[in-house]
C-alpha cells in the first residue's frame, strides 16, 4: 500500500471533475479468516472529517493467537492496523464513530457470548467498559437461541453524550453514558422475541 492512498487523496480534489464515479479499491488487511457462523461478519467505517480519511473497525479471526477486534486507519505509510481487544470469537456487531469532542474513535461491539462493550481511544490507549446499567443483565441466551445482535452507537448532538441502542434485559433500550455511568431508557419490550435486528 505504501503511500499511495495519500497521493490519491491529495490529487483527486484538484484533478478529478465532478460527475462520474471512479473507484479505487484498497486492501486494508488480507485474509482475516472465516467466521464460525456465516452471518457474523460485521465491520464499520467512519470518516475523520478533519482529515477526510476513513477508519475501519472489524474482526480478525485469521489466527487464534492474534485474533481480535482491529481498527485500521490511514497513516503516513498507508493502512495502519491496531488491536483494540483480543478475542477469538465471532463478532456479532461493531459500530464505529468518532467522538465529536475528542476526535478519537469509539467502538461498540459484542462477541458471541460476551456482553456489549464500549471501547474508547483516549489518544494513547483503549479504555474498555460495558454498555448499559450494571444492575441489569443482558439477554444473551434463551431457550430458542442466542441473541446475536450488538448495538448502534451515536452521540447526542445536543449534549454530546454517548448513546447506544441495543437489547438489554429483554427490552430494546437506549443507554446514555455521561462519562461516569449509564442510564437506560426502554424503547420497547421484546415480549418473548428471541432476536432483534437493526
Amino acid at each position: 500500500m505504501a503511500s499511495r492512498p495519500l497521493i490519491l487523496f491529495s490529487l483527486c480534489v484538484a484533478a478529478v471533475p465532478c460527475g462520474a464515479l471512479d473507484w479505487e479499491i484498497q486492501v486494508v488487511q488480507e485474509d482475516v479468516g472465516k467466521p464460525l457462523l456465516a452471518g457474523n461478519r460485521p465491520l464499520s467505517i467512519a470518516l475523520d472529517l478533519a482529515t477526510g480519511l476513513p477508519l475501519v473497525a472489524y474482526n480478525d479471526l485469521s489466527t487464534t493467537t492474534t485474533a481480535g477486534l482491529r481498527l485500521a486507519r490511514v497513516g503516513s505509510t498507508g493502512w495502519e492496523i491496531e488491536t483494540v481487544v483480543h478475542a477469538f470469537a465471532d463478532m456479532t456487531e461493531a459500530d464505529l464513530e468518532l467522538n465529536p469532542v475528542t476526535g478519537h474513535p469509539c467502538i461498540v461491539y459484542r462477541f458471541l457470548h460476551d456482553y456489549l462493550s464500549y471501547a474508547a481511544f483516549d489518544g494513547t490507549s483503549w479504555e474498555i467498559s460495558r454498555v448499559g446499567s450494571p444492575l441489569q443483565k443482558d439477554l444473551i441466551q434463551t431457550q430458542t437461541g442466542i441473541v446475536q445482535e450488538g448495538g448502534r452507537l451515536l452521540f447526542d448532538p445536543k449534549s454530546g453524550r454517548l448513546q447506544v441502542i441495543h437489547v438489554h434485559n429483554q427490552n430494546v433500550v437506549l443507554s446514555t453514558y455521561n462519562n461516569t455511568q449509564w442510564t437506560d431508557q426502554t424503547i420497547f419490550p421484546m415480549k418473548g422475541a428471541r432476536e432483534c435486528r437493526w
Partner: protein, 183 residues
C-alpha cells in the same frame, strides 16, 4: 438501525424475531423519540420478512424510509401511511449529501454495487465486480460519505479472499474548507 432526525431526536427501525409454534414470525417496528418518551409503531404489509432494516430520512420532509434488503422493498412514510416501493435493492440506505437523494450499497454475492436514486429511477453502478459476498452481506458492509466533497468510502469483507477492503470514490465536489495536503 438508529438515526437522528433533523430535530435532533432519534428514530429507530428494528425487526423482532418471535417463535410461535416453532415458526419464526418477524415484526417490523419504527420508534420515534419524543419529549415524552418513545412512540413505537408496528409496520405491517409487504417487505417485513427481511433482516437488517436500514433507515434514512427524506431530507425535505424528514419522513422516514426503511430499506428491507432481503425483500428488496422500500417502505416510505408519506406523512400518513407507509408506502411500498418494489425492486429497491441494497443493504444500506443513506442520503447522498450532495444530491440530497437516497443512495444504497448492495453487497451480496454479486460484487459490490452502488444504487443511486435520481428522483424517479434507481440506477446501479459497479463498485467492485470481484467483491463477492456470502448470502448475508448487510452487516459486512459499511458506508461513509464526506459531506462536502461527496467522496464515498465503502468498507466490506471480500468473501473469497477474506480480505477487508475499502472502495474509495473520487470526490464529486470541491471541498469548501481549505484542503490539507498529507504528502
Amino acid at each position: 438501525m438508529v438515526r437522528e432526525a433533523s430535530t435532533g431526536e432519534l428514530r429507530a427501525a428494528f425487526l423482532l424475531f418471535k417463535t410461535i409454534n416453532t415458526i419464526i414470525a418477524k415484526a417490523l417496528f419504527f420508534a420515534r423519540q419524543t419529549t415524552n418518551g418513545w412512540e413505537v409503531e408496528e409496520i405491517t404489509g409487504p417487505g417485513i420478512n427481511s433482516r437488517d432494516p436500514s433507515l434514512a430520512f427524506d431530507p425535505t420532509t424528514d419522513h422516514p424510509m426503511i430499506l428491507l434488503p432481503l425483500s428488496s422493498i422500500l417502505r416510505r412514510f408519506d406523512g400518513q401511511e407507509w408506502l411500498v416501493e418494489q425492486d429497491v435493492y441494497g443493504n444500506i440506505l443513506v442520503i447522498d449529501p450532495l444530491t440530497q437523494r437516497p443512495m444504497a450499497v448492495q453487497a451480496a454475492g454479486i460484487g459490490v454495487l452502488l444504487w443511486q436514486f435520481d428522483g424517479s429511477i434507481w440506477t446501479e453502478s459497479t463498485v467492485d465486480p470481484t467483491g463477492s459476498q456470502g448470502g448475508e452481506g448487510p452487516r459486512a458492509t459499511s458506508i461513509a460519505i464526506h459531506p462536502e466533497t461527496g467522496q464515498i468510502f465503502i468498507a466490506y469483507r471480500e468473501e473469497i479472499s477474506r480480505n477487508i477492503r475499502v472502495a474509495i470514490s473520487n470526490p464529486r465536489a470541491n471541498r469548501v474548507s481549505e484542503w490539507v495536503d498529507y504528502e
